[in-house]
Symmetry: C3
């Protein structure tokens, strides 16, 4: 049962990866590859940290959703201007499912609750971050206009609590995933945000991207 | 014998990494490092997924080709305008060798054929992708003007078939690697390509890189 | 004792990650995340290569320094123009500590000295490189205006020698780390550099970043 939920989550994330490939002008193989990285990357990193061979490579069925996603994006891509919205919605759906399943798998492997929550968050946000890093754009995860990590942290924490209370079953898990999904979309819709990294001075002096090209030897 | 073939493949890839370092204006240590990432990165990822300590770190001889490659690039770099061509040729040679050896190593570790083919492809394209991601350019893998992944997939699949038929020896392996090399170079020479990720609408509405700087809270 | 030194090193690196987040305009969660990647990433990669579950995830105390660093950067960020200098100083301090502890851990796991030195260097430079790759800037590691890798290589090599001579204790380790720190800062202050990757032709023909957008099918 968990496998079916995971396959659906992989498909959601893979669609967001394939849509990114479409936006960047990659071809269909790049679409399938970027979808696969986005859908499977977080879980592969989680399994490596759990010191296991990634489940993805033991059961080739996991490679089906990215291929399906690349075909769907090829066949049904709407007009360009709608793509950004779709990426965000599919990404949020994958986020909800993966935080829950990732935390659960870490807890099943006897990891401590704090690390399990973090591994759940990594499973949820890792694939999307790898998608953005590979596509050479600044990761959406760091976009200060809305919150991405907080829904993931809440979803993973709720999963760890439900596990410790012994009430974690499929229905509860789906509820947690749905709540994470709604929280993420609400944060985009209503512009929820957290304070900037740079504290109070930021609003007056907006930071520019690092120049990295002048001499710096005299700075000390 | 396989080790010598691997060292040659590492050298080819490392030259492509060092040439990229030269094009981006990095220094010699960056050249050796980027060559090492490009030559050894795919194999390290493969070994991590096989849940082994990477062979690279057990036998320091694997670090020799990147150092040699950085010295060669330093000594013999041709004029700037020829560099891009050379990167592509060396990259294709490494691709051919690594798809074959990567698939073989996964099959030797009792992975299923589908995952073995994918691990062979990752061994082949992973180093080059890491080179581009680290050098902060859009990975060549996704360039829609020619095909990169298809020769890799065909080479890895041919290796898996030859393995299952029990006819895989050094000569057959070298033939498969050479075929992959020729396919990759032909695809560049003749502009072979696969359909775009975004389907029919793409030609009229070329996608722009994500803007990522306007407000998006009202999009839902 | 080694754990306290490691926590201090993680804090130094995490501050450099959080300052990068401040410079790029990320929010506080991005700051904690980028600090965590920078402070813990090199060690996680080292442990994966040592084929162990990363120590970070077995002892949640390792997650405290990045959170503390994000709070410090939020509370005490100085004016924007001073940030670049601070990133470099904290980064150098982390570099010194991590080269030493990373090499030591690899030697304790019976790796050969060459690989141990490389793993020490990876522990030292890996986190900072991941910080830059994720923040989508060209890694500082490759900056040809000063040397970053040479202090790391010297510090790791000194650690391996001291280990083999049986004289490696806390005081010697701190000395090696301090020396690495001073070497790194001196290289920035005095503009020490190594030859460019591209050899003699470089000064006349400065390389431009890859254009990657013209047709290339006729190049062969």
């Amino acid at each position: 049962m968990l496998t079916i939920v995971e396959l659906v989550g992989i498909f959601f994330f893979a669609v967001s990866g394939s849509l990114m490939a479409a936006r960047r002008g990659f071809d269909m193989l790049g679409s399938a590859f970027l979808g696969g990285v986005c859908g499977l990357g977080g879980g592969v990193v989680r399994d490596l940290i759990l010191n296991q061979s990634p489940a993805t490579f033991l059961h080739p069925i996991y490679f089906a959703p990215p291929i399906l996603a690349a075909l769907c994006v090829y066949a049904f891509t709407p007009a360009v201007q709608k793509l950004h919205r779709l990426v965000l919605i599919f990404d949020a759906a994958g986020l909800g499912l993966f935080c829950m399943t990732g935390t659960m798998k870490a807890l099943e492997n006897d990891f401590n609750p704090v690390s399990s929550v973090l591994l759940g968050v990594i499973t949820g946000v890792g694939g999307g971050m790898m998608r953005d890093v590979i596509a050479n754009v600044t990761p959406d995860l760091f976009n200060p206009r809305d919150i991405y990590a907080i829904p993931a942290i809440l979803g993973a924490t709720a999963t760890a609590f439900a596990w410790n209370l012994g009430i974690l079953n499929l229905a509860v898990g789906i509820c947690i995933a749905a709540l994470t999904f709604v929280l993420r979309l609400s944060s985009i819709r209503f512009g929820w945000s957290v304070p900037m990294a740079a504290g109070h001075w930021h609003r007056e002096n907006p930071p520019s991207p690092p120049a990295n090209d002048g001499p710096r030897r005299h700075f000390l």
